[in-house]
Amino acid sequence: MDYSSLLILAVEEGEASSAELLLPAWPELVAGIIAFAIVYFFVWRWVWPNMSKTMEARQAAIAGEVTAAEKAKEEAESLVSDYKARLADAKTEGNSIVEEARQTAEQMRTDIIAKAEADAEQIRAKAREDAAGEKARALADAKSQVGSISVDLAEKIVGESLDAQAHQDLINRYLSDLEKL
């Protein structure tokens, strides 16, 4: 049998009875009502409430995560500021230690110099004192010698005749005595 004629036949007969297609078959309508009722009841009573539950669970989870993240962030921030403060403290402390050491060193330097100067001054003063003492003693010695020499001389002058030649000799001797001293 020729295929194309079969096809045409099929279409023609289909057209003849196609109105039947547009009419619902009662048993199928009943099945459809039951089937859709099952679906609707299930969606209405079960899916919709469960969908809200799922959304609520998600909302709670997200909110919880956000809160936890915020908390963690705050903790981290406080930790960072804490570390920063500690770091600043350590820096200040280090600086003050260095400064203190510098000051101590400076102080020591000043002290040493002052002490050295004082010592030197003391030594100088003592030396001056000693020198002055020596000088005074020498002067005193000289004075006493001059006195005794003068007395000697006077004795000699008085003990001998007073002529010019004698005076002159006396003076010369005195002077030579002086030179011998």
Partner: protein, 269 residues
């Protein structure tokens, strides 16, 4: 071939039978009493929808499974884009109905492409007819409930219509909203499914028939083994197109239901 065309003859003599009438493509064999295979598929579609939703929402998961995510995205789409998007804040109330509508039609449509079923249940007028009737009852009921008798006036004579035109507009609106609307809603889905199913049956069936007759020596080798596979390839292309059409029709039916409900709730436009 029973698998592809969902109708059978004696497979020992022929791989498929040419139907006497197009109706045969849509009248599935009776199983027992007045229960035919279509009715089984209708109930099966409901069970598939229930099972899919059950497994997706069995327990409130923070991180959904892959399957759950797929179902959830469909549910979210119907809820947010159709129920809330079209109807507005009051749309939540109609969410369950619209979701049931979408899922049931979608699964029923995809039965047309499901191996071993190969029959879209919406191609039987009972299904789109019943669903369109439910939408009709809902939008008319909501209209009267929300606006009382003013609903009729607002609907038949939209604001701004000159008095002289009122009888004409009234008749047009009456016919278009209360008679054509449910009918067009039902027929749009029904006709798309009938056309798709017929196309697939014809193209894939032709492919098999050409190859088979050529193998029997009834037609030439060239016709049978070159033209036959071409029919089949064309059929597969239509198969892919049908995926789009079936999804789109489920969406359109649901969307229009939402639009009709919305127009009853807010008569201003």
């Amino acid at each position: 071939m029973d698998v592809i065309l969902a109708f059978s003859c004696n497979p020992q003599e022929q791989p498929l039978c040419i139907p006497d009438s197009i109706l045969e493509l849509f009248e599935l064999p009776v199983l027992f009493g007045s229960v035919n295979r279509t009715m089984v598929y209708i109930i099966l579609a409901a069970l598939v929808v229930v099972a899919a939703l059950y497994f997706a929402y069995r327990k409130p998961r923070v991180v959904p499974t892959k399957f759950g995510l797929a179902v959830e995205s469909m549910v979210d789409f119907v809820r947010n884009d159709i129920a809330l998007g079209v109807i507005g804040p009051g749309g939540e109330k109609y969410g369950p109905y619209l979701l049931s509508l979408f899922m049931f039609i979608l699964v029923g449509n995809f039965f047309g492409l499901t191996p071993f079923i190969n029959f879209p249940i919406g191609s039987r007028m009972a299904i789109p007819g019943f669903l369109a009737l439910v939408t009709y009852v809902i939008f008319v009921f909501v209209g009267f409930k929300k606006q009382g008798l003013a609903y009729l006036g607002e609907t038949l004579w939209p604001p701004g219509v000159p008095v002289a035109l009122r009888p004409l507009i009234g008749v047009i609106e009456l016919v278009s909203i209360f008679i054509v609307r449910p009918f067009s809603l039902a027929v749009r889905l029904f006709a798309n499914l009938v056309a798709g199913h017929t196309m697939l049956a014809l193209l894939l069936g032709s492919g098999v028939y050409f190859v088979w007759t050529a193998a029997n020596g009834d037609i030439s080798f060239l016709k049978g083994f070159v033209v036959g596979p071409l029919w089949f390839v064309f059929g597969m292309a239509i198969f892919l197109l049908e995926i789009l059409v079936l999804t789109l029709q489920a969406y359109i039916f649901t969307l229009l239901s939402a639009v009709y409900i919305e127009s009853s709730l807010n008569p201003a436009h």
